[in-house]
Structure formats: C-alpha cells, structure tokens
Subunit: 394 residues, 2 copies
C-alpha cells in the first residue's frame, strides 16, 4: 500500500508526547526527583460531586433492563443538545445546530473533511498544534501563519491578510492566554464575510473568561452565523479531559461558495464516521448544565484562576513579562529571546518543573514558555517557590 504522502510532511513528534519522552528520560536518570508539571493542559482536580454521581448512576442504569440504552443519535442526546443551546448559548443557537462529540480535538480532525485540499488556510501562530498537523495530514498545502505576538497584542493584522478560505481561531487562546475582544471579533467576522471564508472558532477555554465584556462565543458577534463554526469542550470546564465530551455548532445559514449547506455535510460526516459520544459522558454533560453543576464548575474555574495568579506573581517577580492568565488558564511568558527547548531543559533540571516550550506551538512562540494553571494548590505553591529561586533568570 502507498503511504499517504502528506504524512511525510509532518514535523517529528507531536508536542506533548515529546515532552512526555523528555520527562521520562529525566526521571530515569533522577528517579527520586519530585517533578511538578505545569506543562500539558491537563486538569488535576476531581470532577465535582453532582457530575461524577450522575455518571456513576448512568453506568449502573446501563446494567438494568428498564434503563439500558444502546446506540444514541450520532449527533448526541436531544436533551443535551437543548441544554447546551440554552445554558451555554442563551438559545442564540438551535439545538439542531449543536453536534455533541468526544471532544474538540477529535472534531477538529473531522472538520478537515468538510473542505477540499486546494484551499488556503489561516492559522494563528502560535497555535494548538492539531490545527496545523490536521490540515497537513488532509493534504492542504497552503497555510498562512498569522503571527500573534505582544507587538500586535496577540491579534493578527486583519488588513494584511490574503484571501483565506478557512481561518482557525482560538479564544481564549491556547497557548497565549489572550482573549479576543468584541471589536476584534467583529473585524474577523467582517473579513470572513467579505472573503467568503469560514471561521473555525475554538472556545474550549471559554469557561475561564472572568471579564463579562469579553465574548464567550463567536455567535455573540452579529453576522457570525453566516461564516462561523464553533467547536468547544467540557474537558477544561469540568475535569472531563479523560471522560471525553465536547460539541461543535454548525449554524443552518452557513454555506459553501457553491451555495450548498455546510450543516448537511457535517451531519453526513458525523453519522458516517462517528457513533456518538459515550452515553455515560453525556449523562455527565447534562449534570454539568444543571444549576448545581454550573455552580460547582464555576468554583472549579475560579480555583484554577487563583493558581494562575500564584504562578504569574512568581514569574513577574523574576522580572519576566507574563501574558494571559486573567481570562484563560494559560500564562505565556516572554523569556527574552532564549531558545524555548533550552529553557524547558533548564526548568526541568534546575527547578524540576515541566512547562511547555513556546516554539512547540509555532515559530512565533520561540522565546516563550507556556505555564498551565492546572495543578493541585500545594504543588502550584511549591512550583512558585521553586521559580523564585530560578537562577538563570536572576
């Protein structure tokens, strides 16, 4: 069999497995070290009680004849689609536009199937690596990197963009922690409308937005329904990184340039190559959207945001400039032009801390490190103490 020739174009190793490998190598040489990871964006706190109990009950009910259920709709349980539309979108999207999935990462892979390979795609630089890798795997060769740096306040200069048929945009951003403002998103939607582009808008971190003036969804922007798909996730809201539950919103109005509707294709892709998110996870999703679940998950977000402030304070104390961390669980730290993987290695060896090299997210991330706010409080406090003693910066 011939190999998919596009696979050969991928750069070596996906970022997080590479970090895992370096961690393992270090621990093999230094088995007694107590490493603290602020690296991968993995949640650390237990799933709140009303939610874990709902899933526990759903699992038991699958063992009873009267409450057993098999295949659900590939698009997700109807009541969950309704609750997502109502609670998270204030009914500004319809339940029939919400497609429940096993997570945003998996949906991003499937979203590639909507588009041809002869298109120009815009991707933020730095960005979550899956956008670039997924695009390349599916044969797209024209990728325009939109640098997002302190110089442009982490928002690309839209007036300088070439015509792009697809734009990936993530806000709150992974890795920079930047959140696009309403005027910025209006500019982005305006560009997409003028250029007949489709925005693939990723809001996996929307639950961390504290400032009420910042949009939590692209659909808060007038006109977005004709140009945007939004993909999101329960992973970071409720500690569901291992449970796997997310969703994608495809508005009815959204069309390809040939006038056909995108939602019909998305439905075809999801019914053909996907079989629904786990029914136990979906029971958990419903619990998240109940008043008690909302209360518990809001408290969880607040906890992680306190972590962010603790780490931020330690890093700024070293004289470093720190972005993000106010409306996102990521801190984006300027290491003044130093090589990211070198800083990674120094943090690992000197402080026994794992952070993520900015260059792993794209060329414009070189010189930066991403610190995640996910961690047990005592570990975050210990990490902050270790950072304060980080010699290479002093």
């Amino acid at each position: 069999m011939k190999r998919n020739k596009h696979l050969a174009k991928l750069k070596r190793g996906y970022l997080f497995p590479e970090i895992g490998k370096r961690k393992r190598e270090f621990l093999e040489k230094n088995p007694d070290v107590n490493l603290i990871s602020l690296g991968i964006g993995d949640t650390t706190e237990p799933i709140p009680p009303s939610i874990s109990r709902a899933m526990s009950k759903a699992a038991l009910q699958l063992g009873e004849e009267t409450t057993y259920s098999g295949y659900g709709p590939e698009q997700g349980r109807e009541d969950l689609r309704q609750q997502i539309a109502a609670v998270l979108y204030n009914n500004q999207v319809k339940p029939s536009e919400v497609f429940v999935s096993d997570g945003a990462k998996c949906d991003i892979g499937r979203l590639q199937l909507l588009m041809g390979d002869d298109i120009a795609v815009g991707i933020q630089d730095p960005a979550y690596p899956v956008y670039v890798d997924g695009t390349i795997m599916h044969g797209v060769t024209s990728i325009h990197f939109m640098a997002c740096t302190p110089h442009n306040r982490f928002f690309p200069d839209i007036s300088q963009l070439p015509p792009l048929e697809v734009i990936y945009f993530c806000s709150p951003n992974n890795p920079t922690g930047a959140v696009a403002t309403r005027p910025q998103l209006e500019e982005l939607v305006d560009y997409a409308r003028r250029n007949k582009s489709i925005l693939l808008f990723d809001t996996a971190y929307a639950a961390y937005i504290q400032d009420p003036t910042l949009p939590r969804s692209i659909f808060e922007i007038p006109g977005a329904r004709e140009v945007a798909i939004e993909t999101s996730s329960f992973s970071k809201i409720a500690g569901f990184t291992g449970v796997r539950l997310g969703w994608t919103v495809v508005p009815e109005e959204l069309k390809y340039e040939d006038g056909s509707y995108v939602k019909a294709d998305w439905n075809r892709i999801m019914t053909t190559l996907f079989n629904g998110a786990s029914n136990i996870a979906q029971a958990g999703g419903l619990a998240i959207l109940q008043p008690q679940g909302q209360q518990e998950t809001t408290a969880l977000a607040r906890f992680y945001m306190e972590n962010a402030q603790i780490i931020k304070s330690a890093l700024t104390g070293l004289g470093l400039t720190v972005y993000g961390g106010d409306n996102a669980p990521y801190l984006w730290v300027d290491f003044k032009g130093r090589n990211s993987w070198e800083v990674f290695q120094e943090l690992l060896e000197e402080c026994h801390l794992v952070a993520t090299p900015g260059s792993g997210f794209g060329p414009a991330g070189e010189g930066f490190m991403r610190f995640s706010a996910f961690g047990h409080r005592e570990q975050v406090l210990e990490a902050a103490d270790r950072l304060k003693a980080f010699s290479l910066i002093a």
Copy 2:
C-alpha cells in the same frame, strides 16, 4: 470555502438514518402500532453486572482527589492494552500493537488517513456502508466491489481479483453473517503478500463465533502480521454500543511499499487527532476481560444466538433460504430477487417489523434482507409469530 468535492459523490443518506426516517413516518401515521425492530444491529440487553458496576465505580473515583485522572494515553490504558493482547489474542499480538479507541466505526474513519487517495481499494459487496462512504469521502476513486453471494459461498474469487492496495474484509460478516474459514483467510493473506496489499480486517462480531475451527482473528493466519490491520469493538460483546469502546491492532512488521512502518503513522494519527477513549468506558473494558466479565459476556452472546435460531426457524418455515445466524448475530435472507426496499415496506406495514434492506449494503445485497438477532426474547418470539403470518411469502 470550497466544499470537499468528494462529499458530493456520496449517495443520499446513510442507511440507518434512512430506516429511522421511514420508521418515524410510519409511526406518525400509525401511532398505536407496536413496531419490533430487527433492523439496526443495536444491542438490547443490559450490560452485565460486573461491568456496569466497574464503570459506575470508575465514575465515582473521578470525583475523588486521590483517584482522579485526566488525559490518559491516546493509545489507551496500558493495562487494558495488555489484557486485550492476553485475553483476546492469547498474546499473539503485543500490547504496544493494540490501540484502544471509541469504536471500530471511528477507527475506520481514521484508518483512511494512512493511505493516499491514488490507490485501488477492494470492498466486499454487500458490506457495512462505512467502508465505501469513508473511502469516497477521503478521495479514493478506484473501488473494486468483491461480490459475496450464495454462488461463491460469500467469499470472493481471489484468483479473479485485480491488484488492490487495500482490502476491507469483515468476518463474521455484517450483513451476511458469513464467517471466513481458515483456508479462505490463508488464501486472502497469500494474495495480500503477493500484491503487497494491506488487509483492513474487521472482527467486531468475533465474540459470536461458536465453531472453534473458525478463526476469530486474522492474526491466527501465518504471515498475516506483515499484511493486516485488525479493527474490533466491545460494542457487540458487552452491550457497549452506546458506551463506545473498541481497538485496532497494527503489527510492528507492517510496512508501506516504500518500506516505512505503518504503526508509526497510526500512532501519529491517533495522538494528533484522537484523545483516548473515555476513561470510564476503558474501566468497563478491563472488567469485560476479567474472568467474571468473560463468563457474563459469553452468556450474553449465547442469548443472542438463541434469538438468531428462533428467527431463523420462523423464516425457513416460510420456505425462505436463510444464511448466517450460526456464528454471527445476523441472518441474511434470500427474498428471491424481490426489491429489498419493497420487502422492507411490506414487513413494516404488514408485520410491523423492521429489518434492513440488503441493497443498503451494496448492489449484491439486492433481493436480500438482514435480520438482526439483537432483541428482547419476548419481542423476538413475537416477531417470529408475526413472520409466520407474513402473507406475501406464503
């Protein structure tokens, strides 16, 4: 944005949504009818107690600080990979070759990414529609349909096959219920070795094989490790159709024609575009593979196979020739050249029974109907009674 031009080549509607639509339309006109479905291959019996309890416990443990876990390895829990290799493959495959997933259907979608689009693909006719649709969506245009009919005992004439780079093969087969024998699979592996093809072997129904001389895995055939990938599922073994858990085995030896290793690419695809199966479902998978779980699921398979015999007996009583149902939960019934959708409609309207039109699985399925053995016993008995009165056959 330009539409993926391959999506326009798909035939209207995926089979099962189409059946669902016809069912709904019928029930709207006849709301008091008690429909019995032997259509979609959905499990109906509760998940056995040791397995549902294990998942219930896993969900509660995610709510505790000491037992919480977030992202697992994208390839699946190490202990689950070990147990699959040990219990289901008698350690004839390595744990590192087992990739746990959210189901065979989803893996089939991702498997497309291994191959280029300029290849010739062989697919059984009739077949599970996802092979053809997934192949078309990914841009492959050369599909060779291998007719599997009573005339060739549901096994294609290998000596007549053109050179094919990929062959999808499902045994026990959905929809025909045929199980390939050891000599047949030896012939298939031999073809693949001579033509440097890759076999994508689907064993989602292996747990239903009663005859101990029939292979449950392609890896029981010498030489298969150099030519085959096997994808399988817990869906039909343990009532996991809604829970979502499966796996794919990619042997270390398997190479592309350029000499590079397929397993490395599969690992890249799974780590980049997938995020692991739900950890609660994986806890259930582990329970399935314990002695108690094995006992319970063996009893479950036996129950469904008794259903198969009840339906088979009713259908043969009508003078129909019935294939399958002895080592697979599907019966493939020859309606003597009649149009499948017409028979579907007559069964729906006269008997209030839902079966699946054979033509929905490919042109060679025309004239046949698939009856599934999944159902509560009292409904299966009632279905058998209704079939005995089916006038159009008498």
